[in-house]
């Protein structure tokens, strides 16, 4: 059975401020969706709300995975159901080695009923797996010994997110501006990595400003967000058009949404 992620009439606020004003979307395993839109349209808010960030309140609507309502679930429960968010700004966890962190994460995702202190994936098995994934992604194996995101360059942080994607093999991967802040070499590596990882088992939502990530990952669906709503959905030609002309036409076609678009989107507190 193909799994699906259904977002229905989603309204999300940060504190008192409404950001998402009724988002509808359905993503199936195996599909690649792109989400574009100007700054302040609510793209990152959608990403955080899907992942279950505590500061984002769903005021109306729902998020479902295979019909199971996950709207009230904590982030870890959603992860165990197959949700994954590649952060735009990955968080630094000092003193925690990448390998140790990943070993715990993988153990939880593969065995969702796992309880603390038990059932960690075996060291040898894990080491082989992480080594294979890192080699495929062209990453220096030394990385696994570094402290998670601590002192990483922008490119290294994004590659770390892709490594997590590779190890955790989620059913639904949301990539939040994964191509921002990278030079073109790094974007290519990330794009190719993603292309290799996605497939019939993974539904992907690529949130992006630019087109670069879409080069190797052609979306079947391109959504444009404006003022907290999806105002248009098209194919990859829509993405080309936006890349060429910017958002002026979109704003002209949807003046109400354009009016509600804030220039500074609320960042997670």
């Amino acid at each position: 059975m193909t799994s699906f992620l259904r977002i229905s009439d989603l309204h999300v606020s940060v504190g008192e401020t409404p950001i998402l004003r009724g988002v509808n979307m359905e993503i199936r395993q195996g599909e690649v969706h792109a989400l574009m839109g100007p700054n302040g349209s609510g793209k990152s808010t959608l990403a955080y709300a899907l992942a279950g960030h505590p500061n984002y309140t769903v005021t109306e609507g729902s998020i479902e995975i295979d019909g199971v309502n996950v709207t009230e679930m904590e982030a870890d429960a959603r992860a165990r159901l197959g949700m994954f968010l590649a952060f735009q700004y990955p968080v630094v966890i000092p003193g925690v080695k990448v390998a140790d962190f990943l070993r715990h994460a993988v153990s939880n995702i593969r065995n969702p009923d796992r309880r603390e202190g038990e059932g960690l994936i075996g060291m040898r098995e894990f080491r082989k797996e992480i080594r294979d994934r890192m080699t495929e992604l062209g990453m220096d194996l030394e990385f696994a010994r570094r402290y998670l995101n601590d002192g990483f360059s922008g490119g290294e942080k994004k590659r770390m997110e892709i490594l997590q994607l590779a190890m955790l093999q989620p059913r639904f991967a949301i990539l939040d501006e994964t191509d921002s802040g990278l030079d073109s070499d790094a974007v290519r590596v990330v794009s190719e990595g993603l292309a290799r990882l996605s497939g019939p088992q993974m539904g992907v939502l690529i949130i992006t400003h630019h087109e670069r990530l879409l080069e190797f990952n052609t979306p079947q669906f391109v959504h444009v967000m404006l003022g907290g709503r999806i105002v248009e959905t098209g194919s990859s030609t829509l993405a080309h058009e936006l890349h060429a002309n910017g958002y002026a036409d979109i704003r002209a076609r949807h003046p109400a949404a354009a009016a509600q678009n804030s220039t500074a989107e609320a960042a997670p507190v």
Partner: protein
């Protein structure tokens, strides 16, 4: 490994209850309660000590009685000196029954995966750890190099001149009230002498020496590292150490001679009835290096400030300290560095964690004496407070009597950042697991200096402590 859900009592170190019944069979000798000159003389007599040591003890008792209690640090109002047995000698192997050990402690040992023999040793069920087979050959090797490693009582008998030359020179009985107490009633502890140029490449551990009861109340340790030699000594253990004695007051004296190196690692996790008051000090001579690695996890109150006196140019001192205070616990810990000579350097890294209403404090001193020019000292003290009920304090003292020096002090206080928790949870870690991971990361700079088994145990212990700590 236990498969039932860990109840809170498994892991709340603050909730240990102790229920050993006092079996008269266990002790060959037990002094009457309380402390006076008669008891002190009795102790010395039973140990067959030379007259000078008896005099030393009696003089120390006078000092102890004349000094007031410290008016800083922790709350010791419940400590009744008259209510304590100051000397006990275990009869033999036959000791307390394993069945008497509290259930939650036995289960914690299970969770930590501690081997059978070691469990019994830790719980005081066996007076000696059965180390003969494993460690016998190590001890022969040491003896061949001229290393002396024995308990302090035996050292006094077997190496009287060496002993007398150094004993009490680093911490005289008049130093503080509890040093005086220890000087009066000390028993057990380690004595180590490393000859010139000898570098011991594996850590010496307290349970190598099987010829006396370990983890006594009033241990006295003396370590002499001769010129160019090096040694790493490890005492204590991460597993909850159950003690029916409520007062532990140890003294550790270390002399590190020119060009020598000494590292002293302690991980202590006393049960929550214990007052753990320790005086530890090292003298570091020219171009030597002294390192204290100090982990304090349990006890009701710990007061411990490992000190290094940098006596000659080129001496370096470093102290890494972790304090973890849970419910009903107060860790008042820190370090002291005294620069007595030019071109000396010191570093203090202190990491303290408090949760469930525990209190952990950093109390430290950096002192630079006059004419000790060109010294450098760096202090980093970081505190992590895990919930609103808990508390952390910092009492840094800096006394500099010389201008030409570089002293740095950085302090931070934090709680677990929401963004860090969310990031880890979004990868499938539960809130408790994520918190434990962040705390483990917080203490990593210290943990990576520990011998492997200790590092593994310490991390697991922190994980256990964090389970059920998130409401």
């Amino acid at each position: 490994m236990s498969t039932d859900a860990p109840s809170k009592s498994d892991v709340e170190i603050g909730d240990y209850k102790y229920g050993f019944h006092d079996s008269t069979d266990f002790y060959a000798f037990k002094s009457r309660k309380g402390l006076d000159a008669e008891i002190v003389s009795q102790i010395s007599g039973m140990k067959n000590e030379p007259p000078w040591m008896r005099e030393f003890r009696l003089k120390s008792l006078e000092i102890f009685e004349s000094r007031p209690m410290p008016n800083w640090g922790g709350d010791m109002s419940d400590l009744k000196f008259d209510n304590i047995y100051y000397y006990m000698k275990a009869a033999s192997e036959q000791g307390k029954s394993w069945d008497d050990v509290p259930e939650d402690i036995r289960r914690t040992y299970d969770r930590l995966g501690i081997p059978e023999a070691e469990k019994k040793y830790l719980a005081g069920v066996k007076a000696q750890y059965e180390s003969e087979v494993v460690y016998g050959s190590l001890r022969e090797d040491l003896a061949r190099q001229g290393v002396i490693f024995t308990d302090t009582d035996s050292a006094l008998q077997q190496h009287p001149e060496l002993f007398r030359e150094y004993f009490g020179t680093v911490i005289p009985p008049g130093d503080n009230k509890f040093a005086a107490l220890n000087s009066a009633v000390w028993s057990g502890g380690s004595f180590i002498y490393v000859p010139k140029g000898v570098k011991i490449d594996f850590p010496l551990q307290a349970y190598f020496r099987i010829n006396s009861q370990n983890m006594g109340q009033f241990e006295r340790t003396l370590i002499i590292v001769d010129e160019g030699a090096s040694v790493h000594y490890v005492e204590g253990c991460t597993a909850p150490t159950y003690s029916s004695d409520s007062l532990h007051s140890a003294v550790v004296e270390i002399i590190v001679k020119r060009g020598a190196r000494c590292r002293y690692t302690t991980i202590q996790n006393w049960s929550s009835n214990v007052y753990n008051l320790v005086t530890k000090r090292a003298m570091a001579y020219g171009d030597s290096l002294m390192e204290w690695i100090d982990g304090n996890l349990g006890s009701r109150l710990t007061m411990k400030y490992p000190a290094i006196w940098l006596m000659e140019p080129g001496a370096r001192g470093e102290t890494l300290s972790i304090a973890f205070a849970g419910r009903g616990q107060h860790q008042d810990a820190g370090a002291k560095m005294v620069h007595c000579a030019p071109n000396t350097s010191s570093r203090i890294i202190s990491k303290s964690i408090s949760r469930s209403g525990g209190r952990s404090s950093y109390r430290g001193l950096v002192k630079v004496q006059k004419d000790a020019i060109n010294c450098r000292s760096n202090v980093v003290c970081d505190a992590l407070i895990l919930d609103p009920a808990s508390r952390s304090d910092t009492y840094p003292y800096i006394e500099v009597e010389e201008q030409n020096v570089a002293i740095e002090h950085e302090a931070s206080v934090s709680k677990i950042a929401e963004e860090q928790l969310f990031y880890l949870m979004s990868r499938g870690l539960s809130e408790a697991e994520a918190s434990a991971m962040i705390v483990t990361g917080f203490v990593e700079p210290l943990v990576r200096e520990l011998p492997m088994e200790y590092a593994v145990e310490l991390n697991r212990l922190i994980e256990l402590q964090m389970e059920g700590s998130v409401g």
